[in-house]
């Protein structure tokens, strides 16, 4: 039962100096390619387990998948010479592309949120969609998160497939009632009669001095809600793929985006593809230590990885992508190989995704660990406004390097 991953090129170094405008943070990423793409075949659409193809092929007849593609270290450099197909795109544009393609494909898909229509979205993810699809399909709502999320749920129960945008993830705290009680539980309490194929998405995470309330990480609050899935995107490739998969899924999915990642640039395939909602992504295979991360911290980890490689360590970096449920297979295989785990996350120390992940790994793979799991999380403080303080609340690459060195002693 081979694990299949599509290789993703390592990120080049982050610019260490905090710049004040998000636009100046443009990252060149090596294109994502799999082995088979290098041979000139159609690009990998998603990684797939070799077991029970019948289950995975449901509703995905449009896509090709490569049954055996394993990322290797040489993938990074070789991949850049890969086929010229595909197009360069920024992450927010990738999200828009995904959304637009799904709206074209299925007329039941609609968007609701504040300023998504005429304004095009506060991060321009829905720019141009209202002109194309009309005001009812890209609905500008009043500022009433609880109610319009509930409206999205009611619409989902009666046959539509809404994508609800929270202008900032933090605002969804106002919609917690609807998300927990209705989104998560309704399928169950109705005995399976009603499905809620809603996607709730929005930017979260610590930005550039946005203040405490705009810098919240809601994944830790939502993770206990039964009946929902949570995914976090980190590259344009997986942003588009996860957006499309989330829209096509019958389950309610919460898609976490990050405010600082919207301007990442990457070359993505032209073809239709989706990313599996329950799988993690192998970013960099290695031997010495498993580093589990997601969203923006992936880039801090990759920056630290460069330093670590220079110092002679070989970290394996996995972007867990699926925050609920965890992909225990990918993670487990990695733990069994390296026997050391470092979790790097942006959530708070208390009760965050890292805490759950630590528990899950301890329960399932305790025998394979040579050292206690180290979890690097943000400080348990409301994110301060001051730039220096803000820098100290989140995990920085230097801390990651130190942690790995300590772990590997």
């Amino acid at each position: 039962m081979a694990a299949i991953f599509h290789g993703v090129g390592a990120a080049t170094a982050l610019s260490p100096s905090p710049s004040h405008s998000v636009d100046s943070k443009k990252f060149q990423l090596a294109p994502s390619r799999s082995l088979s793409a290098r041979k000139g075949r159609i690009a990998v659409v998603r990684s797939d387990s070799s077991v029970n193809l019948s289950l995975n092929s449901r509703g995905r007849k449009d896509h090709l998948w490569i049954p055996n593609a394993v990322a290797t270290k040489t993938d990074d450099s070789a991949a850049s010479t890969a086929s010229k197909s595909g197009h360069e795109i920024l992450l927010f544009e990738a999200l828009r592309e995904g959304l637009e393609e799904e709206m074209d494909r299925d007329p039941h898909v609609c968007v609701m949120g504040e300023d998504v229509g005429h304004y095009g979205g506060s991060y321009k993810v829905t720019k141009g969609l209202a002109e194309k699809f009309g005001d009812l399909r890209v609905l500008d709502t009043p500022i009433a998160e609880n109610s319009f999320t509930g409206m999205g749920i009611g619409a989902a129960m009666t046959g539509l497939r809404p994508v609800v945008e929270g202008m900032n993830m933090g605002f969804l705290l106002l919609a917690f009632n609807q998300i927990s009680n209705n989104c998560g539980m309704l399928h169950y309490t109705s005995g399976g009669q009603f499905t809620i194929p809603v996607v709730i998405r929005g930017p979260g995470g610590v930005g550039r001095q946005l203040g405490a309330e705009h810098s919240q990480r809601l994944e830790s609050y939502f993770q206990s809600i039964p009946g929902i899935q949570m995914v976090a995107c980190s590259t344009p490739y997986n942003a588009k793929g996860l957006m499309k998969a989330a829209i096509r899924s019958e389950n309610p999915v919460i898609l976490f985006e990050h405010v600082l990642l919207y301007n990442l640039k990457e070359r993505i395939p032209d073809e239709d593809y989706i990313c599996n909602l329950e799988e993690a992504e192998m970013v960099r295979p290695g031997e010495h230590v498993t580093i589990l991360t997601y969203s923006r911290m992936r880039y801090h980890v990759m920056q630290a990885a460069k330093t670590l490689v220079n110092k002679g360590y070989d970290p394996e970096v996995i972007d867990i992508r699926s925050l609920k449920p965890f992909d225990l297979y990918t993670i487990g295989n990695s733990v069994k190989k390296t026997h050391r785990v470092l979790i790097v996350e942006e959530c708070m120390r208390t009760g965050g995704i890292g805490a759950s992940l630590t528990a899950a790994i301890n329960e399932n793979f305790h025998d394979y660990l040579d050292a206690p799991i180290v979890c690097l999380s943000s400080q348990d403080v409301p994110t301060p406004y001051a730039g220096t303080l803000e820098e100290w609340t989140v995990v920085q690459p230097a801390q990651i390097v130190t942690a790995v060195e300590q772990l590997c002693q």
């Binding site: 709502t141 109610s147 899935q229």
Partner: protein, 452 residues
């Protein structure tokens, strides 16, 4: 209306006989509102209700059998025993719930109305004129979701009717103490929609108003807010019989019983005679008895229903350590996945060693507890399994082994001292804790009349 009244009375009886538990809210006295509105709807129209929703379900066409067996927690409809009294759903009859938090259903109703408009304008289903009715009480009218939805329904002219069942009491809070302007129908024009006040104890008046409101919605003129002045003849819920309302107020409304009023009207104006009405009464009685019998005979949900329907697509349970999707493991889905001595394989099933094992405590077993028990497996002392797995109606509750032990009626009547799980952990043989708990439960059951 008669069905509703008879049904609710039977619910009360069944509750006190121990057939159903939890919060049950009865609709006696307000039947005119439900009947007056819902009987005018088509099958495709949607109804959203609150926790006081049995009658709405019955009016919309959900069979009495299905509702009763849902209340008994049995697996035969309508929500397979997973929803209970406060969560009645029916896709077939477009009953969208059943919500326990007040105000929670109003946005859902707005969403259903939005779908109707979407179908007509975007999907070009020209004949789609489905209307949604949202029922809620006076207490809800002070909740933010109510106002937010009035606003949204008005700006988009959604085909929805907001029906307020103003029975003057939000549990123990008088409407007059809670609301700055108690005339709820006036809040409609504040949002640009029609607001109507009607006597909710008279089904014919309600019906007239309902016709206007529903016609408005169907023609695309927009939402309406209808305030029905009504009253509850029973207490707020069966778990809390204390009331703060004045007996004179109760008597005043009892004199305006909607069923009695309609009976009088029919007999005086001759559309029906006494005998015909008596025949209806009898028929309903039989129907309700049949519903109870059906519910009684229906099976309890089996263990493997626990994890069904958590996700519409069960891949949402994720990928297990062996690389397969969790949902592909039949033991996981039954909740009886293997529990190893060391390192419990996670999935909520942490139970016994073989499928069908009457073990208990999936996900609740903690390693500490396991090691305290002088047992080789995750089984519990025979005494406990008897209590926990008996099909006796008294055991239809969830038992958490970490908290107080739950004793069967049989054991409570016996004289032998019982051990609680906590004492087992602490290594004590007899228990002060168990005796205290036993005393408490005896007292409670005597109060309910279930023990001599």
């Amino acid at each position: 209306m008669i069905l509703g009244r008879a049904f609710e009375d039977m619910c009360a009886q069944m509750y006190f006989r121990g057939k159903m538990f939890g919060y049950v809210h009865l609709y006696n006295g307000q039947e005119a509102v439900s009947t007056g509105f819902i009987k005018l709807l088509k099958k495709e129209d949607s109804v959203v209700s609150t926790y006081r929703g049995h009658m709405h379900a019955l009016s919309k066409g959900v069979p009495a059998r299905a509702v009763m067996s849902e209340l008994f927690g049995k697996t035969t409809r309508c929500c397979r025993g997973q929803g209970g009294s406060m969560h009645m759903f029916s896709r077939e009859h477009n009953l969208l719930g059943g919500f326990s938090f007040i105000g929670e259903g109003i946005p859902v109703a707005t969403g259903a109305a939005f779908t109707s408009k979407y179908r007509r304008e975007v999907l070009k289903e020209a004949d789609c004129d489905h209307v949604t009715l949202a029922f809620f009480g006076d207490g809800t009218c002070n909740n933010g979701q109510f106002f937010e939805c009035l606003n949204m329904a008005a700006i988009w002219k959604l085909p929805i009717v907001f029906v307020v069942q103003n029975n003057l009491w939000a549990m123990a809070m008088s409407h007059l103490r809670a609301t700055s302007d108690p005339q709820i129908y006036k809040k409609g024009p504040a949002f640009g929609m029609l607001g109507i006040h009607v006597d909710g104890m008279d089904v014919l008046k309600v019906r007239e108003v309902a016709q206007t409101a529903i016609a408005r919605a169907r023609s695309g003129e927009g939402p309406t807010l209808v305030e029905c002045e009504t009253y509850m003849f029973r207490e707020h819920s069966l778990t809390g019989p204390e009331e703060l309302c004045d007996p004179a107020e109760k008597a005043h409304y009892a004199a305006r019983d909607p069923i009695a009023a309609l009976k009088r009207y029919l007999i005086e104006n001759n559309p029906a005679s006494e005998t015909e009405l008596k025949a209806i009464d009898k028929k309903i009685e039989e129907l309700v008895e049949d519903a109870v019998e059906f519910a009684d005979e229906s099976p309890h949900p089996p263990r493997n229903q626990l994890l069904e329907n958590v996700f519409a697509d069960p891949k949402g349970f994720g990928i297990g350590p062996d690389g397969r999707y969790r949902c592909e493991d039949p033991k996981f889905m039954e909740g009886t996945a293997q529990c190893k001595k060391r390192g419990i394989e996670r999935g909520p099933g942490g139970g016994g060693e073989t499928p069908g094992d009457p073990s208990f405590g999936e996900g609740i077993i903690s390693p500490i507890f396991e090691s305290a028990l002088p047992l080789a497996s995750c089984q519990f002392p025979k005494k406990f399994t008897k209590y926990l797995t008996s099909a006796d109606e008294a055991h239809d509750r969830d038992v958490s082994i970490h908290w107080q032990p739950y004793f069967s009626l049989e054991s409570l009547l016996s004289e032998e001292p019982l051990q609680s799980s906590l004492d087992l952990i602490a290594g004590q043989s007899s228990s002060h804790h168990a005796e205290m708990e036993k005393g408490r439960q005896v007292k409670e059951l005597k109060g309910q009349g279930r023990l001599p």
